[in-house]
């Protein structure tokens, strides 16, 4: 489309040409890093964040003796496979949702989730050769669950004394971390497989 501004003698004063480049539009909307994929990523991120926070808050209702922390796994996954910023935002929003769902002081579980994001990134850098092996999600799941459980006992232990917390660590947290590591492996694999982008 070409637009021209002319005087009385039909001399062109101003000419403008608008060209619709379909491939460029396609790249902008649908291409790698485009608007729609980013929007889809955002929806996907929001859904899993929302679901994992709810999952973690109701897990103990059905399996009280078997610890499992899907939100910690999600934070570890997003911090390593996408961005630390996304992981930290997941810590904040997911932690608040978790606190609200479990009627705990607002921010306490977000505080327990922050080190998980940091540890996940640290482990990913220290173990680059594991990144795409089956060991990576197991180690990430185990370490994320263990660290989250420790921080939870530290920050959300209430009035319980240190001996009680240590007993909880031995009886509950270690089996929970092992279970999370085993169950986290297929979950993290699923998340990685469903994720659009790889780091």
């Amino acid at each position: 489309m070409k637009y021209t501004l002319q005087d009385n003698q039909d001399n062109p004063l101003l000419e403008a040409e608008i060209t619709f480049h379909l491939p460029a539009w396609r790249r902008l909307l649908l291409g790698y890093g485009g608007i729609l994929p980013k929007f889809g990523d955002l929806l996907w991120y929001a859904f899993w964040l929302w679901f994992c926070s709810g999952w973690q808050s109701v897990w103990a209702d059905s399996f009280p003796m078997l610890g499992f922390y899907p939100l910690a796994l999600f934070v570890a996954f997003w911090s390593t496979r996408h961005s630390l910023v996304g992981g930290l935002v997941a810590c904040l929003i997911g932690g608040f949702l978790l606190d609200a769902g479990m009627f705990m002081p607002l921010g306490s579980q977000a505080l327990a989730l922050l080190p998980v994001a940091w540890l996940a990134v640290w482990l990913e850098e220290r173990l680059p050769s594991w990144k795409f092996t089956v060991l990576a999600p197991i180690v990430q799941g185990f370490s994320a669950s263990l660290l989250f459980g420790l921080c939870f006992l530290l920050f959300c232990g209430g009035d319980s004394d240190i001996l009680f917390r240590l007993r909880q660590f031995a009886r509950h947290l270690l089996p929970a971390a092992l279970f999370s590591g085993l169950l986290g492996a297929p979950l993290l694999f699923a998340l990685w497989g469903l994720g659009r982008r790889q780091k």
């Binding site: 929302w50 679901f51 926070s53 709810g54 999952w55 808050s57 109701v58 897990w59 209702d61 059905s62 399996f63 630390l84 910023v85 930290l88 810590c91 904040l92 932690g95 608040f96 949702l97 978790l98 606190d99 609200a100 769902g101 009627f103 002081p105 607002l106 921010g107 977000a110 505080l111 922050l114 994001a117 940091w118 990134v121």
Partner: protein
């Protein structure tokens, strides 16, 4: 190496997130409550969906159907409440049974100890709590069980009264607290015999009869010389001299006060050994044929 640009960037990000979390702790209470309510509202569908998934996983692992529907939960809760009420009633009934059992065991022990008389266990079926609680009572045994007027009614502690009137299936007992109660009695330690009567009612005009123990008995002298020897602490028992249906030697009480009346005769005040308050069962002493 540790302070690379990437590390610093991550450190700043983590510190910023930490600051936000700490800020959440410092929020005013009303803002925290508002955020908590918002979080609960937003997270409720997630918890419902995740709860369904988790319960499904539990179904698969354990084979149990869970969770219950709201109607089933209501039903279970209602059943639980009913059971708790039933349990409380059963516990109260059990305590009542235990008390009755203890009382009956005591009575049974007394029955076994007696040889020359037979004892009939009767339950108290009526007492007028407002007017003559300590004066009369009705029991559920009568002439069909061998009861006769004048027989002694007692508890394991001692004499309660005597049968005043008897019907085929019931009998009225005149208790020690009755204003017209009289009975021949004796002090075995002194070999003394006397007449037991109730203390005058004028002593208790202002006091409610419902809450009081039986009024003290008075043992009046028929021979001044013999009664001079009765002292405080002596035990008073029944005597069969005045009534052949009366069992001899049932403990009535102990002497708590001695005095001389206006005519110069000794008068001793007797405090009953048995209390007639809150009785469920009594014994009737029936002389052996």
């Amino acid at each position: 190496m540790i302070f690379t640009a990437v590390f610093r960037k991550r450190l700043y990000l983590c510190l910023a997130a930490l600051a936000l979390v700490l800020l959440a702790f410092c929020l005013p209470e009303e803002h925290r409550q508002w955020l908590g309510s918002l979080g609960q509202f937003l997270g409720r569908p997630a918890r419902a969906a995740a709860g369904t998934v988790t319960a499904g996983a539990k179904d698969i692992l354990t084979g149990r159907k869970e969770p219950l529907s709201p109607a089933e939960q209501e039903e279970v809760l209602a059943s639980l409440a009913t059971l708790k009420i039933d349990l409380a009633e059963a516990q109260a009934q059990s305590q009542s049974f235990q008390s009755e059992n203890k009382q009956l065991r005591e009575l049974l022990g007394l029955v076994k100890a007696a040889r020359q008389y037979s004892f009939c266990v009767a339950s108290v079926i009526r007492r007028d709590a407002l007017s003559d609680y300590h004066a009369t009572m009705l029991i559920d045994k009568g002439t069909r069980d061998g009861l006769k007027i004048g027989q002694a009614v007692l508890s394991p502690a001692g004499l309660l009264g005597v049968i005043k009137s008897v019907a085929p299936d019931s009998a009225e007992i005149r208790l020690l607290g009755h204003r017209d109660f009289t009975l021949t009695c004796r002090i075995p330690a002194r070999r003394l015999t006397g007449l037991l009567t109730s203390a005058p009612d004028s002593d208790h005009v202002e006091r409610p009869s419902l809450l009081l123990p039986p009024s003290p008995m008075q043992m009046q002298a028929t021979s001044g010389l013999q009664f001079d020897s009765g002292v405080v602490g002596d035990q008073v028992v029944t005597s069969s001299l005045g009534n052949e249906e009366m069992l001899d030697g049932i403990i009535i009480g102990t002497i708590t006060k001695t005095d001389i009346d206006t005519a110069g005769a000794p008068v001793m005040q007797v405090t009953p050994a048995a209390t007639d308050s809150q009785l469920d069962f009594v014994l009737v002493a029936i002389p052996a044929k």
